[in-house]
Symmetry: D2
Subunit: 274 residues, 4 copies
């Protein structure tokens, strides 16, 4: 930025390394888009746009699997319920989807991101201080317990055993065996699970934990990992918004009429203007 | 709904045919999710969740291509700019994505949906009333011109020729030749383009028009077609939000400081309390 | 815009007549903000910013009343439920409010806007074609009935008689009597209500209808009228989001656990990879 | 929640103490709404709904002033720019407003909330540990400086002196003199300002700081204080969205065409399918 701003400052303010747009030209990370359409699958483009290069076979396979595993968990989730309600209120399907996505916040959609950060921290600690990963994981678990905090990515409010865990872990194990991912984050995640299982109940790894292992093994940054989860869950959000739209209901609230929310406040009182 | 509502009315209010959730069980359209992870690609699941069945090869190939073609068009678009600005304001990447998606409204993201509806109407008119598709298309174009309205899916504010048009059309033509899609919607779209080209300037089919042909050939409903566009553009929105997050800028407005918006309103005046 | 854009084109692109911002200066429609703080009430500033001038006493009184009447209608409404659910998902109160506001769409929040447009049309028709307002209103009602459409602003899914109707109408009648509003829109609204009451059930004017009369009498454009409704309902949205935040619940869905949405889709089936 | 959920569990799940809704009945915190319309101003209802009781004169006066002070800061702000862009994209004014509000996150709209928390902490520290408020404030400032962090509510990227500061502080001083607010939070805020001014440049209190003093003196919780800011800024967001709508521009991006964002990424490269 020069002292007296120029129009070049304005175009530089919006600069990007993702997509080159000129009349007649669209390039994604340097590749002319007409060379990609029909030849590359959608998930390769997800990786290309966010990470800058086309994925390897391993990156593609693991990203596909993590995305597939995360698409939906039904209308009990506020993200899905929000999108379905919005779809009945006279907004476009884009706005219904936006409402579903917007609530994938730190508590509802952030455990995967937090778990990637946790795995990164464990692996970094082992690398810097030496020691066994099991000991570092046990210390981490102890720290969380001392704060009465959830360990992100572990424990499930609902499933006694998450059906997505084993199949995803096996894909990571295969990649470790093939030498195409390092394996440190898998070991860290399993060590945390083991440390938690020493406690009073068996807290299995949940979908956030197992996809966090995938993303950490692929070198995906924590916040981008949440972005991938949002992208995956957008599919469920779209499907549910569309199902609700197709049903034709108008202004759908959380309870079927004539059910009313309980009122627990002040009894009726008169307003006497002073 | 019975006269006196029961708890079954409340669970029925939220019923869905998409995903079955029970303790230890997640089924997508009836398929146990652990059978799909690692074996099916993400786009097959997009089709499964929204349309109810796994895609044929043709459905999968064309949907992949349409999604890839729609991922991004750079920071000039308000959807991308909105997401980038949001990413600097101290909200999660989910909220940055929601803001980008939310503006894919009737004007910014709805042309594809409108074009699917238009193609459906032309094909239905030909089927009901007979006549040549070129004549019906010419009539439709004349109607739009009489109202000084844009024909959705045609004309481009920017590209003299959209680089995505030919490669996508060729994929549809291949499918028509193979007998795996009907071809009526392709013919209708090309007829509209031809009718428009008879006018004063050459209005090539744009990305909304060519993806509308894909979606119409696949039997995708107009509003769901917009949903697919939103899903595709979410990838660009994510990539741009993430690029902005990585840059670390705080509270990014549309103009680089110290540039200020022009003020064109009332001159300074004093408020005299009556 | 010149042929070669300049930085002045960029600042002009964002020009506004609302607020002048310079170092040390903030003026609202020309008034230095330090002259307004502590001397003018909030609703006067709402009018000043949106309409450009400070309100008259009548404008202030009627806008206050319409805003007060619209603040809340409880958690049955999807706007309120959306905000409450969002507040439990780990997003800021701004995002919880955004989700509530976003669903005040054509069906859930647009009836007032549509009713202002309807009243404007009736008054314009009477002005242009002459005739009695009752006859014009009866014709309008007949048109809606022929299309099996709701007349916006009339009928209520819930209240046999809306408690807000009479008190708001009386304020408008007082202003008509004082000669500070024209009264044409009040007469049009009452005529519509009368025409509807000739039908099979008594459809009282609802909150959207009565506030539409207020806004139409004040010369508020239809879409801005929706904006005022959104602003008013934002208060209820804020109060409910804050109540939910204070309660401390996490990831609140529409049904209390362990209640699950009914599943009505495909029975379990195996995926056999082709 | 009983072991076998009942319909009463579902209505209790949505219980509220804010508004009682029954057929023909709307009560806000116990007051029948028809007693409030036309007799109470909008800001009194803001306080009633969020805090549970009608405001005292002091509460009403200070809340009005804080809201008026926060309504707008022009299109340079991403919240305003987001709403204006959205208004050109074919979504309702509700969705344009939602996009503006959604970005009032921790960085763009959270400084006031953070400053209320800071003032609460200083006052609590003085109460618990004794000592002079100036010493506690100096220690707090030293802590922020050691972390190279901004002190929320102080310093301004733009105004050398915020024109809203003095007039708002004077209103608080008057209330302290009248004995209607405690004054501890005012003293804490001024002490922080003094401590910062001992440094290398003079960092005046900004709008977030001075409204934080107002809210803290009124006993408003930090997150609710952000809610009040969001409500106030919604007025500017509405006015700007409406101005943009009235202008009729379609699909407005951040730069005026034909200006394009700079591209800084990979040079053109060919995709060779493996």
């Amino acid at each position: 930025m020069t002292d007296v701003p120029t129009v070049a400052d304005a175009t530089a303010w919006w600069s990007t390394a993702i997509t080159r747009i000129e009349p007649g030209v669209i390039e994604l990370r340097g590749y002319p888009i007409e060379q990609l359409i029909g030849r590359l699958d959608f998930v390769s483009i997800v990786w290309l746009l966010t990470k800058g290069e086309l994925p390897t076979d391993t990156e593609s396979r693991l990203l596909q699997a993590a995305l597939v595993a995360s698409v939906d968990h039904g209308p009990q989730a506020p993200s899905i319920a929000s999108a379905r309600m919005a779809a009945t209120c006279g907004v476009g399907i884009n706005s219904a989807m936006a409402n579903g996505i917007n609530v994938l916040g730190d508590t509802h959609g952030g455990a995967g991101q937090q778990c990637v950060a946790l795995l990164n921290r464990i692996v970094a600690t082992v690398a810097e201080q030496g020691g066994r990963v099991d000991d570092v994981a046990a210390q981490v678990v102890a720290d969380y317990r001392a704060r009465s905090a959830f360990v992100p990515g572990f424990g499930h409010r609902f499933h006694p055993r998450d059906p997505r865990r084993d199949v995803l872990l096996r894909l990571v194990e295969d990649a470790v065996a093939a030498g195409t991912v390092p394996g440190d984050y898998l070991r860290a995640g399993v060590a945390v699970e083991r440390a938690l299982a020493n406690g009073t109940r068996k807290p299995p790894m949940n979908i956030d934990g197992v996809t966090a292992i995938v993303y950490a093994e692929l070198g995906v940054e924590p916040e981008l990992a949440r972005g991938f989860f949002v992208l995956a869950r957008s599919v469920g959000i779209l499907a549910h918004a569309w199902e609700e739209t197709s049903g034709g209901r108008r202004v759908k609230g959380p309870l079927p009429p004539p059910l009313l929310a309980d009122y627990t406040g002040e009894a009726t009182r008169d307003y006497a203007k002073p």
